[in-house]
């Protein structure tokens, strides 16, 4: 429910259904009946935030407690923000319409770096000081979780706590602790010190950072008994973990409007550019029976007719065939479509494939990521041109005419031949179509290639690498466009400037906090939206604080440099990442975990594939 004052303005904004609440399955609790109120904030618009699985999990989890309530908050779009500000309506949570300021915990999920200014904007709209040090009372406590908190140093001055790794267990423990400290009337500092003792909790203010003259880090020191290294949380058994049995069903269409069920966390592949793969190790699977139970429960309670099985690499799920054989008859009978993102079709049983597509046919997608085998070996992406072509041939015979290929440019060691290789691979797919005797008659083929710009990320073997400057990327994009000769190939490119900013914050340090605040004060928000990104303001902001942004992006680091995230522990060791970096430069691939353990270090986190292999614990 929205605040009454808003009523007369609702029809003046785009898609008012984003601001009303009252959706099916939303949980409305009386604020006086609970001890802890948790405002779960997604720092982007409703349509994007409502598609996020992590929010659905934490929302159901917290609401499963009798002593707590969880409500949803999204970034208001520009038109709505104007109204909130001019009418003095503070940012509110959708379920009760209560002001966010009055909640005990304000939790942000950080999925991409370019949403940082939105966090400050939302805190400001809530009527709160953006800096942690200026919020003196115990509550509201501002916390953050999600992928970006593996290096949240550029936001360290704004949040009180970040939660590292899987949020299910640590969120509950944090709520317990806050409840206790709130009851005894403790202060914020006292609480933060205690919270730092919970595994998975990182309190930025308890670490002081010293810099060298060249701008690199001299030392990071833990204070007040905080652990020297904050370790990520890892849910060992996904079957016993809390999983939602229902989703809030939005009135309006969101980006991913369907049932999403995780089949496993982690990844055995070790693609060297992929941050998610390393951050979420070790691989832990949910049993097929549990996956099916959740799919059925969520479809029943929401009415969704599409299921997406979610993981980093569907084909690596050992229970996939068992699950599909058991679930497909039910799905087909109820006209439910099952989507298997990132499925490798090469060794997938044909009859299952046919059943999968009997409801609705979706597109054929590959992510070779690089144009030549040499570069694919460097990034450890074990997909060969032959595999792509043979799968395409199989698909063309089956009636498909559209193929999507995902690539990156700006990868370490990349040469012009690698960029041209992208066009060559796309051309080979086009040729494969015309050589295919069983291709659909009278139809043309469409190969669309999407080219992203590579951004080196923390906790990957490429964390030391230099990122291509925007002008270099534009040149490479130009070379690619020249190399594409067929009109059957369409190319979509990304704006290199967003990748540049993303790169700054991905591997940035605490000195960037001032920059983020200044840019936000000068109207930067929704930076991931091309139409909102104000690059000139960002460049002025860097300049104002004497910071060279290319120090963070274009500089190759030495292996012995202290990185801004070195005091966080996500399982994988720096020694392993270094070995992988060296292998990359030698063009050597590394086998997946199930074939051979590479002693990455994640085994100490207990669970999943490491136990399965009885691997040597590092």
């Amino acid at each position: 429910m929205y605040p009454e004052k808003l009523e007369k303005h609702l029809l003046r904004v785009q898609k008012p259904g984003r601001y009303t609440g009252g959706e099916l399955n939303s949980v409305v609790k009386d604020r006086d009946s609970v001890d802890i109120s948790y405002a779960f904030c997604f720092p982007d618009t409703y349509e994007i935030g409502m598609s996020h699985l992590g929010m659905k999990i934490i929302y159901s989890l917290v609401n499963s407690r009798e002593d707590a309530r969880c409500e949803r908050v999204f970034a208001p779009d520009v038109d709505m923000e104007e109204i909130l500000r001019s009418e003095n309506i503070p940012l509110y949570a959708l379920e009760s319409g209560d002001a966010v300021k009055g909640f005990d915990i304000i939790g942000f999920t950080m999925q991409y770096e370019l949403s940082y200014t939105n966090v400050l904007n939302m805190l400001d709209l809530a009527g709160l000081p953006v800096r942690s040090a200026d919020r003196k009372s115990l509550t509201p406590l501002v916390i953050a979780g999600g992928t970006c908190v593996c290096n949240f140093e550029p936001m360290a001055d704004f949040v009180d706590i970040t939660l590292l790794g899987d949020g299910e267990e640590v969120t509950m423990e944090l709520i317990d602790l806050l409840k206790e400290y709130k009851k005894k009337g403790a202060g914020k500092e006292e609480f933060l010190k205690a919270a730092a003792g919970i595994p998975g909790v990182y309190v930025p203010s308890l670490y002081s950072v010293e810099y060298k003259e060249d701008g690199t880090i001299a030392s990071v020191t833990a204070k007040d008994g905080a652990p020297e290294k904050a370790v990520k949380r890892n849910v060992a058994d996904l079957d016993k973990m809390f999983s939602p049995e229902t989703f809030v069903v939005p009135f309006l269409e969101t980006v991913f409007d369907r049932t999403t069920v995780e089949i496993f966390r982690g990844c055995i592949r070790g693609c060297r550019f992929c941050q998610a793969g390393f951050l979420s190790r070790p691989l832990r699977e949910k049993s097929p029976a549990e996956v099916e139970r959740e799919c059925r429960a969520i479809c029943d309670s929401t009415g969704y007719d599409e299921i997406s099985l979610c993981s980093l690499s569907t084909s690596d799920y050992k229970g996939l065939e068992t699950l599909l054989r058991s679930m497909l008859p039910w799905a087909n009978e109820n006209k439910i479509n099952i989507a298997l993102p990132s499925l490798r079709v090469d060794n997938f049983p044909q009859e299952l494939m046919e059943q999968l597509t009997s409801v609705r046919r979706s597109g054929l997608t590959f992510a070779p990521e690089a144009g030549t085998q040499r570069l694919r070996d460097v990034i450890n992406k074990n997909i060969t041109e032959k595999e792509v072509l043979s799968t395409c041939a199989q698909a063309f015979s089956g009636g498909w005419t559209a193929v999507k290929l995902y690539f990156m440019i700006g990868l370490p060691t990349e040469t012009p031949e690698d960029v041209e290789g992208i066009a060559n691979l796309a051309q080979a797919v086009v040729d494969e179509f015309y050589h295919n005797e069983n291709k659909p008659k009278g139809k043309s083929v469409n190969v669309s290639i999407s080219v992203a710009s590579f951004v080196p990320k923390p906790f990957t073997p490429f964390q030391w690498e230099a990122q291509d400057r925007p002008d270099t990327l534009i040149e490479k994009q130009g070379l690619l466009m020249q190399s594409v000769k067929s009109r059957k190939i369409t190319v979509s490119r990304h704006v290199p400037h967003t990748s540049f900013l993303e790169g700054v914050f991905a591997r940035g340090d605490r000195r960037l906090c001032d920059v983020v605040e200044y840019a936000w004060k000068n109207c930067c928000k929704f930076d991931s939206w091309e139409e909102h990104l104000k690059l000139d303001v960002w460049m002025q902001s860097f300049e104002k604080f004497g910071i060279d942004p290319f120090f963070y992006t274009a500089r190759k680091r030495s292996f012995d440099e202290i990185l801004p995230w070195d005091h966080l522990d996500f399982g994988v060791t720096k020694a392993f990442l270094r070995r992988e970096n060296e292998r990359a430069h030698e063009g050597l691939t590394t086998p997946p975990c199930r074939e051979k353990c590479s002693a990455c270090g994640a085994a100490k986190l207990n669970g999943g594939v490491c136990n399965e292999l009885c691997a040597a614990v590092v």
Partner: protein, 220 residues
């Protein structure tokens, strides 16, 4: 296959749901209710579900028709009961009937517009002012159609009009041409009246009360 006409009431928060989203919303509700729908047999099968007279965003409805096709025989009572158990707040099935009249038989509908003001005086002033405006027989406004935006005389779409002050509110009861041939959005009329009268209400609600065929016969 059975054609069934659902009559639903749309109020409260649900008025902020657009027509396209209503379609999604009802498709899911019917699925949750376990009512087996008939699916179209094309390349991309989808359940058959037709709103006969989509409500504009922001307008509530007392009794709005929606046709579905089921593959099993289910009683009207059962359909109503099952759907009402699963519909979100603000949406309610008030009746289930056979689909008798055709959508193109609709010619007009009765609307109730309630404009709330800070004082009873303002409400009086508004009610009197809008009655006078309609009385002149001319109220020009820009109207968007498939062929683009053009200026039309809204009074040509008004079949009856009555405005009265009631406390701090002005209540307008009006019958407007509605349907596939000629159609006027009650929200557009209210906006034009507001502009011409030079007074804006604090809040405003619009409800479609009844839908008519020729000769003021109720659409069924």
């Amino acid at each position: 296959m059975n054609s069934v006409r659902l009559w639903y009431k749309k109020s409260g928060l649900a008025v902020y749901t657009s027509h396209l989203d209503m379609n999604r919303c009802f498709t899911r509700a019917v699925r949750r209710a376990g009512i087996p729908l008939w699916y179209t047999e094309g390349f991309n099968p989808h359940p058959y579900l037709t709103f006969l007279l989509p409500l504009p965003l922001g307008t509530a409805g007392e009794r709005e028709p929606l046709d579905i096709r089921t593959v099993e025989d289910i009683s009207a009572e059962e359909i109503k009961k099952r759907l009402n158990a699963v519909l979100p707040e603000g949406l309610e099935i008030v009746d289930v009937t056979e689909a008798r009249d055709k959508a193109n038989e609709i010619v007009s509908a009765a609307y109730e517009i309630t404009a709330r003001f800070e004082s009873g005086e303002d409400a009086e002033k508004f009610a009197k002012s809008v009655t006078d405006i309609i009385g002149t027989g001319t109220l020009e406004a820009e109207k968007r159609s498939k062929r683009g935006i053009k200026t039309v005389n809204l009074c040509e779409f008004v079949r009856s009009f009555e405005a009265k002050a009631d406390g701090n509110a002005a209540v307008i009861r009006t019958e407007l041409l509605t349907g596939t041939q000629q159609n006027l959005n009650a929200g557009l009329l209210e906006e034009a009246l507001e502009k011409a009268a030079g007074i804006s209400p604090e809040t405003m609600t619009i409800v479609r009360k009844e839908i008519y065929k020729e000769n003021n016969e109720l659409f069924a």
